[in-house]
Symmetry: C2
Subunit: 246 residues, 2 copies
DNA sequence: GTCAGTCAACTTGTATACAACCGCTACCGC
DNA sequence: GCGGTAGCGGTTGTATACAAGTTGACTGAC
């Protein structure tokens, strides 16, 4: 495995732990590493590596790795090490597509509800362009946008759908974090969210679904090129590091 | 934990193993136990219980339990044991609802494909009521039905959607297995599948979606009452066992 | 009889030890 | 020079040992 800078180990020597905090810390550290591209798709590593690097035993490392495996971030080959799963553009596209399916279903469901869920009011207050109070800026918008979509799905009232959608959101977050430094589609986001909410308020599911689809596709497009770019850069950096290791 | 009959341990004393077969065996044994209601929702047990019962160490047991936990079958409380998750009727309903959402989206996608996927031909051959060759009977129909729906979603070409759908199918299988002994809706299944395939062949997504929805709802209804019944019976048996333990 | 406090058994979380197995390299025969 | 094979380092899979926390029952006072 390429020698990434040692993770800041926040609990060196701290033996007593609550819950399975060690496993959780390993999980969080690895996931952050993947999200911030210190761990590059294709990187190989062993359980022992991670364990000594984070100063824990292999047991919590294994638990964390199995979680990540189930989430599709890493993979293991029998007695021959782990690796970060190669980046899969098609998978990203498919996840966005799935989001569209789920969220369209959600707005239809919302319109079929007998009484509109309270959360719509709150979303109106945050997002409606006529709203006079302060607007969020920069990457905050992205976080709020994520929240918007999750709230929308949750409002439809199917908890399993909400759970699945959350899982997808999690996996896409890693990609979306890539363009943190960019000026985000702030105005567009406000406009589009406003349109969706208006359509919902008017009980026009078709319109809401169309606006929603458009919004997600726009967001996807915004993310797509920067993703390509970053992945490329990360892959090159990775190759350089590997060359340096020899 | 109530004393369920000892699982048949197929590999007592067999030390050398390939893959993590011990973990897989534990997983399979537990899942079967849950599916067949030897492990009743609410049952409490410890890792040590399972380990000694299946003659393995706690390590593979833990791995299996964490898998089941992620799938929503069991839950753990910190240093205080595991339990089979209480049966959640609402969850079942929600999963069926989610199936409808995903499968409707799938048929729409299929109709938008430039060339119809080859699997449709195969499904026609199996399911079309005019088809002269042999029909499946009894519980085989249920297995084939499951396959039908998975194939349909797979044909839409979104692998992530296929994966999620498969996960849902897995979780519903436990419920569907409940009415193994019943005469299944054989004729209805053939008719309804035939209608869906016809609509797809005619490239009528709306029609296909409607027929599909109707079919899933019928299946759900068929399962609903028997589920109630069995759960009731299982819960009573469980109470009796508990009373007997004292 | 009831309630609070204590304690011991039990449970999970983590660390460590050991065994089986994969992949690679170096060596040997040709 | 080349092919095949044996051996070795490294990796995961499993077992076991130990630590920390929870639960529930028992005991004692009131």
């Amino acid at each position: 495995m390429s020698k990434a800078p040692r993770q800041p180990d926040s609990k060196a020597g701290a033996k007593p732990r609550r819950k399975n905090s060690a496993a959780n810390e390993v999980y969080a550290a690895l996931k952050e590493g993947i999200a911030e591209f210190r761990l590059i798709p294709g990187d190989k590593f062993s359980e022992g590596d991670i364990a000594s690097r984070l100063a824990v035993s292999r047991t919590p490392v294994r638990e964390a790795l199995y979680r990540l495996q189930r989430e599709g971030h890493v993979d293991v080959r029998f007695r021959s090490g782990w690796q970060i799963k190669p980046f899969d553009f098609r998978q990203i596209e498919e996840l966005y597509d799935l989001r569209i399916t789920l969220e369209r279903a959600a707005v239809h469901k919302i319109c079929r509800l007998t009484s509109p869920p309270a959360v719509l009011q709150q979303l109106q207050a945050i997002w409606h362009p006529d709203h006079p109070s302060e607007r969020a800026i920069g990457s905050t918008v992205r976080v709020l946008d994520e929240r918007f979509h999750c709230d929308l799905v949750a409002a439809a009232g199917n908890r399993e759908m909400t759970r699945i959608h959350l899982e997808i959101t999690e996996r896409l977050r890693i990609v979306r974090r890539l363009d943190f430094t960019r000026p985000y589609r702030v105005d567009a986001t406000y406009t589009e969210h406003g349109e969706i909410l208006d359509a919902l308020a008017d009980n026009q599911p078709q319109m809401a679904a169309e606006k929603l689809t458009h919004h997600i596709l726009a967001s996807q497009a915004s993310v797509r090129d920067i993703t390509m770019e970053k992945i490329q850069a990360a892959a090159e950096a990775h190759q350089q590091r590997q060359a340096l290791d020899e």
